[in-house]
Every structure is written in structure tokens, then in C-alpha cells.
């Protein structure tokens, strides 16, 4: 935000960074070597905007994804007023999943809702059989691991271990305070 914007009080919400998402397949390979299995599902989480404009965009994006082969889409809402659009691919193909999620992102951005995108998740199963999520923060263009450990607890040791595993493949969020917990996110509960 520039000096003039400060004087005139014009801070605006930042736009989402979409392209970094395509580096996910690299990180998935590294995670697979460590015994993490991709579950084939991923979600886009975005702010519900009042009015019907954003819902129309979502319906269109859903149509695009389901028209391609092997992908199913489901929608859910959380108690904070965010929509989750979850794409599941039967073949667990991560590149395809990334492309599907990108389609959702770009439809939202094209319609002017890029500022409403919060995060995107890729679901995995840990070697111990627990759910695990690789979370992408749109506004920062960075990833962080999220390992729910029953109830509202996280396995921080595992998360920090994963940080080392994926550090070479994707930009990892350096500020640990930004590693938001997303309890009850689809595919991670």
C-alpha cells in the first residue's frame, strides 16, 4: 500500500496468487517418498459474498469440472461463513486435481472474487493412517502443513518434519503464526 493510499484510506484486499498452485505435484512426489498417500481430493475455501453473483460463478465452475472425466464435486459451508468446494478424483491424479482446482480459482478471479479466496487444501493420509493436509494460502503464495491429531489438536512435530520435506519443492510459509488451523475442513477430519 502506497503512501497516498494511506493518506486517502484506500487499503484494498489483496489479489490471490494462483500460479504457485502448479508446483504442488512436485511436493506430492516428495511426500509420497515419505509414506504420505494423496487421497485424491482437494478443496478451495473462499469467503461467501452476499448476493447471488458468487454462487452463479461456483455453479459454472462445478459444471466445468464434472464435465471432465472422473471428478466429483461437493460443496459445504463452515461456521465462519466460508464455502468449501471439494473436488475428488477417483484416480487420485494430483496433476488433474491441481488443474481442476485452478479452474475453480480462475472462474472466481475472473468474476472479481479473487480477493475472497482464503486457502486451498490437498488431502493426504499420513503413514500412521491419519488425515493430513497441505494448505495453500492464496494471499501469501505459500504452503504449510496441517496435521490434525484428534479433536482440536495438531501434530506439530509432524508438521515441522513435513516442512523440511517439501521446502525444496514449494514455497513454505516462513511465519509460523500464519499456519492457520482449519478444523473440520473437508477431507481432513
Amino acid at each position: 500500500m502506497g503512501f497516498l493510499d494511506g493518506i486517502l484510506g484506500r487499503s484494498k484486499p489483496p489479489e490471490a496468487d494462483l500460479d504457485v498452485l502448479f508446483s504442488v505435484p512436485q511436493a506430492v512426489i516428495s511426500l509420497q517418498l515419505e509414506g504420505f498417500m494423496p487421497s485424491g481430493s482437494g478443496s478451495v475455501c473462499f469467503r461467501d459474498v452476499e448476493g447471488q453473483a458468487d454462487d452463479a460463478v461456483m455453479a459454472d465452475a462445478e459444471k466445468i469440472i464434472t464435465s471432465s472425466t472422473g471428478s466429483t464435486v461437493s460443496r459445504s459451508d463452515d461456521r465462519f461463513g466460508f464455502h468449501w468446494l471439494t473436488v475428488t478424483r477417483a484416480d487420485a491424479d494430483v496433476s488433474g486435481l491441481t488443474a481442476d482446482l485452478h479452474a475453480v480459482n480462475s472462474s472466481l478471479t475472473d468474476a472479481g472474487f479473487g480477493t475472497s479466496l482464503l486457502c486451498s487444501t490437498f488431502a493426504f493420509t499420513t503413514p500412521a493412517g491419519k488425515p493430513f493436509g497441505l494448505v495453500y494460502l492464496y494471499k501469501r503464495g505459500t504452503f504449510y502443513p496441517f496435521a490434525p491429531d484428534g479433536g482440536e489438536r495438531r501434530d506439530n512435530a509432524l508438521e515441522l518434519q513435513v516442512r523440511g520435506v517439501i521446502a525444496g519443492d514449494v514455497p513454505v510459509e516462513p511465519d509460523l503464526a500464519k499456519w492457520l488451523a482449519i478444523w473440520g475442513a473437508p477431507g481432513l477430519a
Binding site: M1, G6, I7, L8, G9, R10, S11, K12, P13, P14, E15, R47, D48, V49, E50, G51, Q52, A53, D54, A56, R79, F80, G81, F82, T109, D110, A111, G112, F113, G114, T115, S116, L118, C119, L137, K139, R140, A177, K178, L180, A181
Partner: protein, 303 residues
């Protein structure tokens, strides 16, 4: 092609720019007059130091004067989760979160930079608003932080502080004026003091109106940015309506206690009809609601 639904309100920016220019000009004029007298220089330094202190310690001072307690995530998980998400959406550092135990429904943000800021809500506002409305209010407060309103308002109001200081205490130091630029010539002491006194009085009055104007414009732009941040301007509207209705029913003792803080509040703590629109720190409710309705229409435009 990515487009943004965010629209700047050109009229609002223009008005705010105009007020800022006016204040800037007033600063220069006042400095030029004060430069002529030794008391002016002393007063300038004293007031500058006071303003700097107020700005630098704004977060702890404001929290203390409201007797607010900083709360950790485990003490107020819902509130923290809400602010976490808003900060992630707006990509801004998370401020400290505080709760003040008072029935007055209000919220304020303070702090010299986004990295040293705090957002405070009262228990009264948490009881009266539902989660979505509270989130609208928090987004409004976070916009104050993002817009650096504490810094802007401190700089803007320093001139009023200085002019007020001179009109009030200038009398006692009247003797210091007698020298003027030339200490050997006592004859122009009286007139020089009167000139400075009168100029200070005028500057005080003009800056008062300008600062109040600036404060109202900052509120409008915080409403605006906050509404874009949550994507739900109508929730903020309903919060405003609820709180404004409640404000007039608050016992007076509470109101007087928090008068000094009023400029940073979400809704003004003083709700007397007699104070003209020109002198109020917050825009009239109807103007805020109209603006939010416009944002809502822009957000739901299809195609």
C-alpha cells in the same frame, strides 16, 4: 483477465485529500507564526513530544484507559479464529486481541503500525451481535489498522493540540513573548502576544472542524474496506443499526468516561443530537448505511 470488485470512492478520496491539504496548509501557516516567538518553539517541542508519546504508546494507552484485557487464543477461541481468517484474507499481521468488560457495545482498534496494533471489543458488543455482525465490526476495525488511522489522526490532531495548548496556557507565559525576535525591544511585546493568541484561537477552531471531517471520512473508508474484506456489507449495516439504537440507551456515566476515546470507536460514544454534524467524529448512520448498500450492489453484480 482478473478483475477486482473493489472500487475506490473517488468523491471520498477527493474530500479526504482536500481536508488533508487544508490541515497541511494550516500547519505551515501556524508554524510560520510560531516561528516568530520563543514560546512558539517551546510549545512546538512540548506538544510534538506529547503527540509522539501518544502515538508510540497508543495501543497500551488505549487498552489501559478502557481497562481492556489482552486475551490469548485459548481464552477466546472464536474471536481469535475470526480475526485469524480475516487477517489471512487481507494478508495483514494479526493484531493483539483484547476484551473490555463493559456493557457499552463498542469496539476499537489502536496501535502505531499494523505490527504494533490491538483490536478491542467490549463484552457488550459480543452479547448484542451475532457472529457475522461481529465479524463485520472486526473487519471495520482491522481496516482502521490497515489504513494506519491512528498515525493519520495523531498527525492531524497535533495541530489542534498545539493551538489549544497556546490558547490555554499562553497567558501564563505571556512575558516570554515580550522579547519577540529582538529581546532589546520591549515595545512590541503586547501586540505580538495578542497576534499569536488570536491566531492560535483561529487555528484551533479551524483545525477542530477539519479534524472532525477527516475522522468522519476515515470511518467511511474503514466501513468500505471492511465490507470488501468480509464480502458482507449488509452484516455491518445491521451491526451498525443494532449498536446505534443501543448507544442512546447507555447510562451517561459510561459515556463521559470514554469521551476522550471517542475518535477511535466503532460508533460514537456520545450521541447527543445537539452536536451538529460538522462537529461529530462519526458520519451519520444513514450515510454509512447508504454507502454499504452501494457496496452490496457492486458485490452482487452478475456477469
Amino acid at each position: 483477465m482478473a478483475r477486482s470488485r473493489f472500487r475506490t470512492d473517488r468523491g471520498l478520496s477527493l474530500r479526504m485529500g482536500g481536508v488533508s491539504l487544508g490541515l497541511g496548509a494550516l500547519y505551515l501557516l501556524f508554524a510560520a507564526v510560531l516561528y516568530q516567538t520563543p514560546l512558539g518553539a517551546v510549545g512546538f517541542v512540548v506538544v510534538l513530544a506529547m503527540a509522539w508519546g501518544q502515538w508510540y504508546f497508543s495501543d497500551s494507552l488505549a487498552l489501559k484507559s478502557m481497562r481492556a484485557q489482552v486475551v490469548e487464543p485459548h481464552q477466546a477461541p472464536e474471536l481469535h479464529a475470526m480475526i485469524d481468517r480475516l487477517c489471512a484474507l487481507a494478508d495483514m499481521p494479526k493484531p493483539r486481541v483484547a476484551i473490555a468488560v463493559t456493557d457499552m457495545p463498542n469496539a476499537f482498534a489502536t496501535g502505531r503500525t499494523p505490527n504494533h496494533s490491538a483490536v478491542c471489543v467490549t463484552t457488550g458488543i459480543m452479547q448484542r451481535l451475532d457472529a457475522d455482525e461481529l465479524e463485520g465490526v472486526l473487519a471495520h476495525e482491522l481496516s482502521h489498522v490497515a489504513n494506519r488511522d491512528v498515525t493519520v489522526m495523531t498527525v492531524a490532531s497535533s495541530i489542534g493540540l498545539l493551538a489549544g495548548f497556546i490558547t490555554r496556557y499562553g497567558m501564563y507565559f505571556g512575558g516570554m513573548f515580550s522579547g519577540g525576535r529582538d529581546r532589546n525591544n520591549n515595545s512590541n511585546g503586547g501586540p505580538a502576544f495578542i497576534v499569536v493568541f488570536l491566531v492560535s484561537l483561529v487555528v484551533y477552531a479551524v483545525s477542530f472542524v477539519l479534524i472532525r471531517g477527516l475522522s468522519r471520512y476515515r470511518e467511511l473508508s474503514a466501513d468500505r474496506s471492511g465490507a470488501y474484506m468480509t464480502g458482507r456489507p449488509s452484516k455491518l449495516s445491521s451491526a451498525l443499526v443494532k449498536i446505534s439504537g443501543d448507544m442512546s440507551r447507555i447510562p451517561n456515566s459510561d459515556l463521559r468516561e470514554s469521551q476522550a476515546m471517542s475518535a477511535f470507536f466503532f460508533a460514537p460514544a456520545i450521541s447527543r443530537e445537539s452536536i451538529g454534524a460538522l462537529f461529530s467524529t462519526h458520519p451519520p448512520l444513514q450515510q454509512r448505511l447508504d454507502q454499504l448498500a452501494k457496496v452490496s450492489a457492486e458485490l452482487s453484480e452478475q456477469g
